[in-house]
Amino acid sequence: MHLDTHTGLDSPKGVWWKPAHKSEKLWVVIAFAWCMVLFAMMPLWHWKGGQNPSGIRRHTTPIAYGQRLGEFIAQYQTGQDRGIPIVSPPPGADVYLAAAQFQWLPILRLQKGVEYTLHLSALDVNHGFSLYPINVNFQVVPGYDYGLRVTPNAAGDFRILCNEFCGIGHHMMVGRVIVDDVPAVAATGVNP
């Protein structure tokens, strides 16, 4: 059945479209089936899974986003740390976070188990949102508003580092997210 035994360096003579051995055919079928599993997992996770990078995606401009950020900070600011405002938005609020060379603005104070729409955008160049220590990563692109519905599942003092090269000060860029176990902001009077 395999009469023209040859290497990959030789020209096959005549018709080379010949039946394959059953072991080879079996592997092709199994590999194909596995590829279908790989593929099916993504729509399946959109349907049943809890982590999807879908979000609400809009065009914006650095100026418009900066203005919206300013309003957001003015509305919900509850303190500051090292000159950076701490903002405590109410549950379910639209939350704005901006990346700029070389800092994250503002510091967010959120509640565990509550859903927020976290907006990400950059005011100058590309940046990378990387939430430490839970390792959640998103690309932050100037001119684009990425609104992700997030629900913190544990309390803690988190860090945001930048993981997209954004200039020579890239490694200095660390921000902060505080997640409280219980509504801890009654004293500040901004919690509705």
Binding site: L9, S23, N52, S54, N126, Q139, N153, R159, G167
Partner: protein, 589 residues
């Protein structure tokens, strides 16, 4: 080469001088051979620059040493990316294209002046880019994401290099057409050349994406037009990822070539192998999406369709080659009498031949580490816990370095005697070089992957964050892992320096090879040439016997069947473990 007969052409035009290869009997066109030599030498120079940069980078990321200051770290990181991923690899690939379109089919290299113009443009472009980067006028890293801005001459250099490469690719197609017309070979193109055609077609797609993004970006850097940052990312990755798919196709072609040269690998089934190459052409350039899975520019439908190469058809192609390449090796060895048990064909293979050891490491690490991690982290949702962490360079050093670069090094051990007609210098060192390089890269890629799963960012000067606004401390395990990254990186870089030393000494000061003795091991000549893996005259009968129905489902290549199922099991486990890890993080939607 068991059944090949070289086509001796009597109509050779006088200006086209051929020599007859004493090892293979093929007609070698001397003009084309010089092009192969020039591109190969340029490629090794780029490799040397890239390897020096690699040492500086790993010694900086190893926090205990932290060698370079911040600006030089990012600068050298950019140099490393351009030198390795663009200059080293594409120069070598154009060498492969000149070689496969002439030497393997007894053909001549057409349009020599145009070919040399292509080489000149590539060289000028590469020198411009290197100059700008080392001078600190292009601190934008390999990806040069707009609106980070570099000197216009940086973008112009990239454009010139790409135009030169496009000329080289065009000459490849011209050579093939002319060879067909002049009837330089009988029947269809050999499988290795077919793989090179695949690489060349993908190269055209890639280089057109390069033009589509770098020409506007050049104009933007001159202040003439605007470039949207997200559109830049989409089109740039049409260049950036697709260029890695040229590597994959070229590497697989070289796997088939090295298998044939070192152990007499046969093509188990032309239909299956060639169909897999076609799948690459059809689907592989969609992989631009792998880099955009957590970007704000595109929605889930676009991301799913593209990141999966439209239902993983390009992954299917690689899984097919992952079977057919070892199957061809196994069958080739069995046909030469190594028929005992499941794995005698592998045990008794020429492990002291650097062409063979490079081949086997390339196949193994590319598949088990590069392939499995790549498909997994390129899944839309899993990318949330991967994007821009060290898992990404952990993956692509397993593909493009342990896979492609290792295969290219193995091929070089045969190109030196066959094309340059010199003995391989420092032969003892050459025999251990693949072990050093692949071993180092394996430590490097695995440590990087583990470090990345703690969220350690790639492209970062100081993960102790000593100058940051807020304190930040990774697990102490990360320090250990980064020390292993440095250790593996230094071992692999040593392997690269040994390779450069061997290549330079052999090519410029090497001992001319003279007559290759048969049946006698000679230092400096790979075993595949002194002991050619020739098949016996009754090879077709032996092959038919191995294919007999009585041998059952495992058939002629039982060892390969076992290996691919081990591979599949590893793949399934790794894939679902990642989904499990993802399910622990915040709810995001």
């Amino acid at each position: 080469m068991s059944t090949s007969t070289a086509v001796i052409d009597s109509r050779t035009p006088s200006r086209n001088v051929f020599r007859t290869c004493q090892s293979t009997g093929r007609q070698i066109h001397i003009g084309a051979e010089w092009l192969v030599k020039a591109h190969a030498v340029a490629s090794v120079v780029a490799l040397l620059i890239g390897a020096i940069a690699a040492v500086l980078i790993v010694l900086t990321r190893w926090q205990a040493v932290h060698l370079l200051p911040a600006d030089w770290f990012y600068r050298v990181l950019g140099v490393h990316g351009m030198s390795m991923l663009i200059f080293f690899i594409i120069f070598f690939e154009i060498a492969v294209l000149h070689f496969t379109s002439t030497a393997l089919i007894n053909a001549r290299g057409c349009a020599p002046k145009t070919s040399w113009l292509g080489f000149a443009l590539m060289t000028i472009g590469a020198v411009m880019v290197e100059t700008m980067m080392w001078a600190g006028k292009a601190d934008v890293l390999f990806t040069s994401y707009v609106p980070l801005r570099a000197d216009p001459n940086f973008y112009l250099g990239v454009i010139l290099f790409a135009v030169g490469a496009l000329i080289g690719v065009s000459i490849f197609f011209v050579n093939l057409v002319v060879a067909r017309r002049e009837q330089r070979y009988e029947g269809s193109l050999p499988l290795v050349v077919y793989g090179a055609v695949t690489a060349a077609i993908i190269a055209v797609i890639t280089l057109l994406h390069g033009a589509a993004i770098y020409i506007p970006t050049y104009l933007w850097s001159l202040g003439v037009m605007k470039v949207d940052p997200e559109i830049y990312r989409v089109v740039w990755w049409g260049l950036g990822h697709s260029s890695q798919q040229i590597n994959v196709a070229a590497m697989v072609a070289i796997w088939y070539m090295l298998g044939a040269l070192t152990i007499g690998s046969v093509v188990v089934n032309e239909k299956i192998s060639r169909s897999a190459f076609v799948l690459y052409i059809l689907f592989i350039s969609m992989a631009s999406a792998h880099h955009l899975l957590v970007d704000p520019g595109m929605g889930p439908a676009w991301k799913i369709v593209n990141t999966s190469y439209f239902m993983y058809m390009a992954v299917l192609a690689s899984m097919i080659h992952g079977f057919t390449v070892p199957a061809g090796m196994e069958l080739g060895m069995r046909l030469r009498g190594y028929t005992n048990g499941m794995f005698e064909w592998l045990r008794r293979a020429p492990w002291h031949d650097p062409g063979f050891s490079a081949l086997i490491f390339s196949v193994f690490v590319f598949g088990f580490v590069g392939g499995i991690t790549g498909v997994t982290i390129g899944t839309e949702q899993i990318n949330i816990i991967v994007h821009n962490t060290l898992r990404v360079p952990g993956h692509f050093h397993a593909t493009v370095v342990s896979g492609t670069a290792m295969a290219f090094m193995g091929a070089t051990y045969y190109l030196i005697p066959l094309v340059f007609q010199k003995k391989v210098a420092f032969w003892k060192a050459a025999q251990i070089q693949p072990y050093l390089f692949a071993g180092g890269m394996l430590i490097f890629t695995l440590s990087m992957t583990f470090a990345g799963s703690f969220g350690v960012p790639r492209r970062h000067w100081d993960i102790s964050f000593s100058t940051a606004a807020f304190d930040m401390q990774f697990s102490p395990i990360v320090d250990v892992l980064l020390a292993f990254v440095a250790l593996g990186g230094l071992l692999a870089a040593t392997g690269a320096f040994v390779f450069v030393a061997i290549a330079v000494k052999s090519v410029f000061l090497g001992e001319p090879i003279g007559q290759i003795p048969r049946g006698v091991a000679v230092a400096g000549i790979p075993a595949g040439l002194t002991h050619p893996p020739v098949h016996a005259a009754d090879v077709d009968e032996r092959n038919a016997a191995l294919h007999a129905d009585s041998r059952g489902l495992m058939g002629p290549m039982p060892g390969t069947v076992v290996l691919v199922f081990v591979f599949l099991a590893a793949f399934v486990v790794y894939f679902f473990v990642n989904w499990k890890v993802l399910s622990f993080v915040w709810k995001i939607g």
